[in-house]
Each structure stands twice: as C-alpha cells, then as structure tokens.
Symmetry: C2
C-alpha cells in the first residue's frame, strides 16, 4: 500500500449541501475547503435547491423578518473580514435571491458533478458565488453561466455542452434527489452538512457549527484560517 | 493609581441580555462568564423578557417549525457535552416555555439587579437555568423562586422581600426598559449581546458569535473552556 493509499484509511466523509443563493453556504464551503486536508476528510460537494428546502420544511429566510434581515447584513459584513471572504450583498438582494433565483445555476453545478470531477464543482461554485455574492453580477443568463464555467477553467466547448444539460431530465432528477436526501436528514436551510462517522450521518446546519463538527471528528478547529483562502 | 485600578483602564463593557427560558442564553451566559477575566471585560447581566422581544420583532421561536425544533434538540445535546453545561429539555418543553413562561423569574432577576450586586444576579440566574433547563423543575411558583434565590446564597428573609418586589412598578418598568433597549439595538431573540467598543455598541445575537466578539475585542477565543465551568 502506498503512503497515499494509506492516508485514505479512516478518512471520514463530509457532504456539503449548498446553494449559491446562500452567502452562509459560501462561508461553510470555504471553511470546509480550508480544513479538508487538516482534518483528513473526504469533502463531497452536493449542490441542492434551497428554494425547495425552504418550501418543504416550511421555513422562511432570515430576510423575511426586518430585524433578522438587518442583523444578517451586519453579521455577513463582520464575517467578511473575519473569514477573509469578499462578501458583498447584491444591489437588489431580494430580486436576485427570490425572483431571479438559482435554479439554472444549481442545475449547472449538478451537471458538472455528474459529468466532471469534484475539483470542477468546487471551482465553478466559487466562481458563481464570486459573481452573485461579491461582484453583483448575474448568474441566470446563459452568458453568465458560461463565464463562470470558463473562468473556472472549463473549456468553452465543454461549458456549452454542460449548459445544454441543465434541461436534461437526469440532471433535474439528480438535483431533486439531492434536495430530497437533505430533507430526509431534517434540512431546513443552507448550508446543510452531513458528517459520516461510524456508519452514521450527523446533520449540522449553518456555517457556525465547525467547532462541533471538529469535536465529532476528533479534530481541532482553529478559526477561519484566512491564510488558506483561495480567494 | 493602584495596579487594581490600572487594570480597569481600557476595560470594555459587554452587556448580556437574556431570559432563563432560553437554553442558548444559558450557553452564552456561561461562555461569557468563563471569558470575562481572560478578555478583561466588564460583564453586565441584563435580564430582559424574551416573550416581548419575539412579539415586537415579529420573530417566532425555532420550536414553531418542526425541522428547526428537532434540530435545536440535537444541537443542544451536542452543545451539552462540548460546552460542559448540563442541558436537559424540560419534560413538557412547550408548556414550560410558552404557557408557564418566565415573567416572574425575569422580574425577580430584575429586582435582584436593582437591589443587590452582579454576583447575586449571576448566581440566581444560574440556579434558575439549572432548575428549568437541567433538573426539570418549576420556576413559576413562589417556593420555586425562593429555592433558586436561597440556593444561590441569598438569605431567606431577603429572598422573601425580593420576591414581593416582582409586583412593584419600578421593577416592572426596569424590565420593560431593558427589553426596549435590546429592541432598539435590533434584538429579535436571545441571547442578545451588546459589546461596547470605542463609544459604539455592537449587537450580536446567539451563543455562537463568541469568535466574532473576541475578534472585535482584539482577544482570543479558544472554545468553551470547560475547565473554567462553574457547573
């Protein structure tokens, strides 16, 4: 057994269910990316559809309450500098989150997860978050999605094929299946994190449960580790 | 200036607004008690009335959503061992939280905060949380409130006088004033934490913002420090 093969033994799997509409999902995503080697976890990206999660769990977003919405804005601003993630709210946040939405973007990520590797899913997810939650750019038009994919290193021809896949039934079904999996574990928002330890899936909600996840994994959490940022 | 006097210079004030109906308030309370010397903060206890906060901010408790309520139960169980706080849900949690409520308990804490010192408020608060959120004991009857006060070291005669104070207008007004202060800073739940730095009040919600509070204070957060537990 090679040393690389050996290092796989005893690795624990962490599944991150997320939607690029959610800035807290971005924080959870970056923190887990920074810790995956330190914690020796197998990090799996599971794009799901937050709109359906909120609908079926009968939950409502923080922005639907005036006090909570105002606080979330302050909280994200604090987390921006603390975590070194260049968060900026879109200029019309309600329109972007609730009218335009992310169904096409999440279907594109699903197609990438089916046809390419984890690295491609990671890189395109980051590009989509940078567009919607940092640079105030669209992520609903075909050109926008192609720009995110090609900026992440996917060749234009391949990106165009992937974009046509968002209308395919198998891609729609996979996104639905992932969303249902998260719901079956009690999801009511994003990020939803499943930590698989000793044959059991432990569900965590939010970007602020990293210390508890580390505790379950028997690892150390030392804060957001900005020096490991890819941003 | 004595060295003790000198150590006061530059101390920052942290106000903890809480209600003993809230288990997350207990966590926030214990964590701040464990850190107040490490961070050299002046920790002020501000019992308020969470029922009014939820009403005026138009917020609803996590338990009003099935998925959120189930998750909160799991989350509190995890936090119990991680933070070393002996949290146990009352046997009829909805009855205890929403029918019986904590108005008398919060008025007693308010009277103590007006007539005695911070240490008494701290100790009686902890006794009340131990009753409601650990030992499944009542905190609404006169005997229950007297037991909490005397267990915390207040002599019986004094405890009886304090208990009569919960009907006094000045005590009711003080509780109302504190609740309104929290609302004016955007409170929508508990704990609500005001951190005063450079003449400005920074509002934080929840027991999971300690790393961000430490960041603002220029201090280190090293987890829940169970070795400093008073429990």
């Amino acid at each position: 057994m090679t040393s690389s093969g050996f290092s796989q033994v005893g690795r624990k799997t962490v599944e991150l269910f997320y939607d690029v509409v959610s800035p807290y999902s971005w924080i959870g995503f970056e923190l887990l990316c920074r810790y995956r080697h330190k914690w020796n976890i197998d990090l799996k990206f599971k794009p799901f559809f937050l709109g359906a999660i909120m609908h079926y769990s009968k939950n409502s977003p923080p922005g639907s309450n005036l006090h909570k919405g105002n606080y979330a804005g302050k909280d994200l601003h604090r987390l921006r500098s603390y975590c070194n993630i260049p968060l900026n709210a879109p200029s019309d946040v309600a329109e972007v989150m609730f009218v335009k939405g992310t169904l096409s973007a999440q279907r594109l990520l699903t197609a990438i997860s089916m046809d390419l590797d984890d690295k491609a899913v990671e890189d395109v997810s980051r590009e989509l978050w940078l567009r919607i939650w940092s640079k105030d750019k669209d992520i609903t038009e075909a050109d926008s999605l192609l720009a995110a994919a090609t900026n992440a290193g996917i060749p234009m021809e391949k990106a165009k094929i992937l974009l046509t896949r968002i209308k395919d039934q198998d891609v729609k079904d996979k996104l639905k299946e992932r969303t249902e999996t998260a719901l079956s574990h009690g999801a009511f928002g994003a990020p939803t994190i499943l930590v698989h330890v000793d044959g059991k899936a432990h569900m965590y909600f939010g970007s602020d449960r990293m210390p508890l996840i580390a505790h379950l994994l028997g690892e150390k959490y030392e804060g957001p580790l900005p020096e490991l940022s890819k941003l």
